[in-house]
């Protein structure tokens, strides 16, 4: 905990500490930065740097993931991996049975060294069939989805304006798009962002 605070103090000081500029290490021109992005994908071929599926085993920092096409993926979580599970979180919040999307770099041994992992992420459209205390009942293609509002986490974007935490403008019967985190093996999700007209 103390270490985290020290690190955050260091990072905050760096960010606010005035213009240092590049320290003679080279330019930040876009062409220089993109020069490293040499990986090309053949049209129609699967992106080697992406994996999806459900976690069947966690061993150390390795995830064994079964893809929806039954392909097995080994995914390595590194110190630099971002992990999203409704919000940016840590590796210990991942569990066997969780679904995930991972993006990273495919190593020669076939392992995907993950840069970013999104756990249980869902993106769905539906109509609000009913609202309860901090819950939306969504009609999604005839299926009922129970979407929980998580205080201090859930956000709403109305008419494409900046996100706010006030969800009270959502109306029964209206169409919404919801980004959220699925509760595995249920029809329930936690709402990360709900996009609606207001």
């Amino acid at each position: 905990m103390h270490q985290t605070l020290d690190r955050r103090q260091l990072l905050a000081t760096a960010a606010l500490g005035g213009v240092v500029g590049a320290t003679g290490l080279g330019s930040l021109a876009p062409e220089a930065a993109f020069a490293a992005e040499a990986a090309t994908i053949e049209p129609g071929a699967p992106d080697p740097n992406f994996a999806e599926g459900r976690i069947s085993k966690i061993s150390g920092s390795m995830l064994l993931v079964t893809g929806s096409d039954t392909v097995l993926h080994s995914i390595r979580i590194t110190d630099g991996t971002s992990i999203w599970k409704l919000h940016p979180t840590s590796f210990d919040k991942m569990a066997v049975g969780d679904g995930l999307y991972a993006r990273g770099v495919r190593l020669p041994d076939g392992t995907l060294a993950a840069d970013s992992v999104w756990v249980n992420i869902v993106n769905l459209h539906g109509h609000i069939a009913a609202v309860g205390r901090n819950v939306l009942h969504l009609d999604h293609k005839g299926q009922r989805i129970v979407a929980h509002v998580v205080p201090d986490r859930s956000a709403a974007v109305y008419n494409g304006t900046p996100a706010v935490s006030d969800l009270s403008l959502l109306r029964v019967g209206r169409h919404v798009q919801v980004l959220g985190a699925w509760h595995p093996n249920t029809n329930e999700i936690d709402i990360a962002t709900v996009y609606a007209a207001a």
Binding site: A12, L16, G21, G26, P30, G80, P88, D115, D166
Partner: protein, 288 residues
């Protein structure tokens, strides 16, 4: 009492069938409703609409016969057979084409649900009861108007309640009213992370370092008027953290600052503040 209920079933069945026929024959959206229904699966795309119209014609004819005298038992038998047919069709639709729409009492899309099946079951029961009737619905209603009206209202209310396609006419307004009275979604406060990220992504600082970023948001924390957002990045082959300072309350993408900090040494390799001069795509660099 059972005589009264039985006699009134022809009226209920007739009204429901004519309402249903109205959608199939006269709605401008009948073609769309037919295309969404399981008839497409059952009979093929080309025959779905003619079959839908034909069914409407049968419903209109039978509904009219049921409502008009004379009372013939064969009409009740035909209505029962039709209702059993609906029940079978809906059961088939639910199994074979669960995404299809009922197309029953409204052109509005409504998947076949347990309520639709219950409504078809109710019509089967009504048909069977109508077969027991000994007289027409008009004399029965004239004889006991209050009890008759109560039976009719209860039964029609049951039909409406069991019709998902009619929910928007009564159930959703009720739920809207309840939400307006109880405000179940009130209470959100604070600045969501997404608002910060949206502002961040509009900033010049982000545009400058975006190609270096490797990860999504790894961590974030608030300190005073700032919210700090950290991404893993790679700069000159080193593993670094790009930490952005974003104004927490004010929306000023131009004020967003960024520092690139070496993970191994903790040294700041780069930091940018405010709007750089708008001359060309290159950042003017100043040695530290």
């Amino acid at each position: 009492m059972i005589d009264l209920i039985a006699a009134l079933q022809t009226l209920v069945l007739g009204a429901v069938l004519i309402w249903s026929a109205r959608v199939k024959l006269f709605s401008r959206r009948a073609a769309a409703a037919a295309n969404r229904s399981a008839l497409v699966r059952l009979l093929g795309q080309d025959r779905a609409l003619p079959a839908y119209r034909l069914l409407g014609g049968v419903e209109l004819t039978l509904g009219g016969l049921l409502l008009l005298p004379p009372v013939l038992r064969i009409e009740a038998v035909a209505a029962t057979v039709l209702a059993v047919g609906f029940l079978g069709y809906l059961t088939y639709a639910r199994r074979a084409a669960p995404a299809s729409s009922c197309g029953c009492l409204s052109a509005r899309a409504a998947p076949v649900s347990g309520r639709s099946l219950a409504r078809a079951g109710l019509l089967v029961t009504a048909g069977a009861l109508a077969g027991l009737a000994t007289g027409g619905w008009l004399p029965a209603l004239a004889g006991r108007p209050v009890a008759g009206a109560a039976v009719l209202l209860a039964e029609l209310a049951a039909v409406v309640a069991l019709s998902p396609e009619l929910d928007s006419a009564w159930l959703l307004p009720l739920r809207r009213l309840r939400a307006r009275l109880t405000h179940p979604l009130r209470g959100g406060s604070g600045v969501p992370l997404l608002a910060t990220v949206q502002q961040l992504q509009l900033s010049d600082a982000y545009r400058q370092v975006a190609p270096l970023l490797r990860s999504d948001v790894r961590e974030h924390w608030d300190d005073g008027e700032w919210r700090f957002v950290g991404h893993a990045a790679r700069y000159q082959g080193r593993l670094v953290t790009a930490v952005f300072a974003v104004p927490l309350i004010d929306r000023e993408p131009d004020a967003v600052r960024v520092a690139v900090v070496d993970d191994a040494t903790g040294h700041t390799l780069l930091s940018l503040a405010g709007t750089p001069p708008a001359a060309g795509p290159r950042l003017s660099v100043v040695p530290a």
